[in-house]
Amino acid sequence: MTAVSTGTDAVPLREVRSSRRGDRVFSGLTLVCGALVFALLGAIAVFLIVKAMPALQHDKSSFWTTKIWEPDSTGHYGVASLVFGTVMSSLLALVMAVPVALGVAIYTVEYAPRRLGRMLGYLTDMLAAVPSVVYGLWGLFFLLPHLIGTQVFLNRWLGWIPIFAGAHGDVNTFSKSVFAASVILAIMILPIVAAISREVIRQVDPAQKEAALALGATRWEMLRTAVFPPSRPGITSAVMLGLGRALGETIAVALVIGNTFDISAKVLTPGGNTIAANIANRFGEAGGLGRSALIASGLVLFVITLLVNLIARYVIYRSGVQERSAAV
């Protein structure tokens, strides 16, 4: 691969050697940086575990089943309600965001004129670029008051469904809640799910689509028969990545969730908490054990998001779909 040493314009031997050395040095350097990724992930796991140990050992009640969070005062704390709130709010966000994200992805690729489609792509990506603290601020001062009507409506007409149960129709009882957090989360993960789904749908073989249309299929039938089946793994992983993002979202949720420690499926009623939001809200007042306890809860979050992401990546790798998007 390096220079040929014969011929009239042959590169002097010394230069060949130095370039070989250059190659070795350079490839060594890149290898070190690659290994750094390994080391970094390992270090994250190790240091979180080490600093979480004191909290896990000194807990006066079980870390996994306790609902309250009083590490510095009573020494009783646990992640039960936090994990519940995290999973609950993220799943609700998925329920709201995924249909819309798929709809907009389909519209962008299949319905919109090419130019409009490209602009829509930019716009949804921009939605992903808005910092989460801005969504939090907006959620707190704009969305929360405007959401009360929706909460009253859901409670009044769908209150017989357990998750919408709660204080009947009293406007004043609705404020920071798991529902509000889910709506904000839905808005935040929508562009991510939409962006990946869009790239996945765009990769569908046009011949398949044209064949379906040529056989007389309507556009919807074409989507159902030629577009959805091949994009299913890609869309699944998009949803999983969106879920991972929702599970770990901190600031926006911290501002619109009730910050209480109960396990309640009544998402409209004030209250609720998530692991990440609890860390953001409690960090300032936490003492030594408090910080350790927060790190322990962060470790739980790390493991949960890691699992979700591993599943998502596994689905992608197995299907061989190349997803690429600036938003991710």
Binding site: M1, G103, F142, A280, L301, R313
Partner: protein, 353 residues
Amino acid sequence: MTADASTAGSLRARSLASRTLPRTVLAGAAAGAVAVTLLLFAVTPLQGVADFLVAAAVLVVVSVTGLTLAVEGRRRAVDRLATSGALLALVLTLLPLGFTLGYTAYRGGKRLSADFLTHSMAGVGPLSPRGGIYHAIIGTLEQVLLASLIAVPVGLLVAIYVTEYGRNVFGTAIRFLVDVMTGIPSIVAGLFVLAFWVLALHKGFSGFAGSIALAILELPIVVRSAEEMIRLVPASLREASYALGVPKWKTILRIVLPTAATGITTGVMLAIARVTGETAPVLLVVGNNNFIHTNPFKGPQASLPLYVFQGAGSSSNLDVDRAWAAALTLILIVVVLYVAARLLTRRNSLVGR
């Protein structure tokens, strides 16, 4: 159906066997549905702009789908319903974007001024409407710059390893781990730096601690975009260089990277835009400061996202107003970076879009 036989598009309208509705009828049905909604809101106690829009949308979809079902049959009706659904999804996506940007511009615009950008919070009393974000801007710029100084070179080298050297198990593993790293929640990155830098090494809160956390978040984004761009560099360019006797490392530095430079820059800018607004890690390890503090390596520093977060949690309306103005500044920074990155993409000869 006899009416549209005389229109210009009659041939297309009478396609094959099925009966089709002309567009004017559909538009008429939609307009009728809106009119009925208006009437409903006029004579019944229903009210509210949002309620009206929702009711009108439902009625339009129902009437258009129903009409199609009656005239064109079930298949076309389902197709129309799907189209309406996709359009509805589009509206539901753009609404929050519009409301977020619009409302932030409205609330922030009232407070944002040159004075606000050039003053810190030093000596600003609880009842003083003055004060600004100069110290926070300095903090954020320094933290993001330091983070990029770590993440960009390392990220580039990782991308080079993965694309040029790592055609083995190790390379595949690194690619996989980088993908996994993109999924690390920002608060976990912050907790790691807290556990490692602040608690284990006793370095205390500083802007640089925040930079480490931001670098962890920035690294995978840089690697992935650079990797993608390097892969797009045509093999013929590399081969031409090898044929001239240029060693591999020089080929990478002089041929591959310059060719991919535009795309890599775009990726870096998007990565910077992403981490500039990160609040969670900054909250945990940077501390906070009301004064201009230019040394990122020692002592707590301010930061723009943190400023917004604390203003949002404050009970003082003055703080909230300042938070909105800071949020607007943050959005402007991010949007400028984002648009610049997009404009740069247009000049990228490797991406044929």
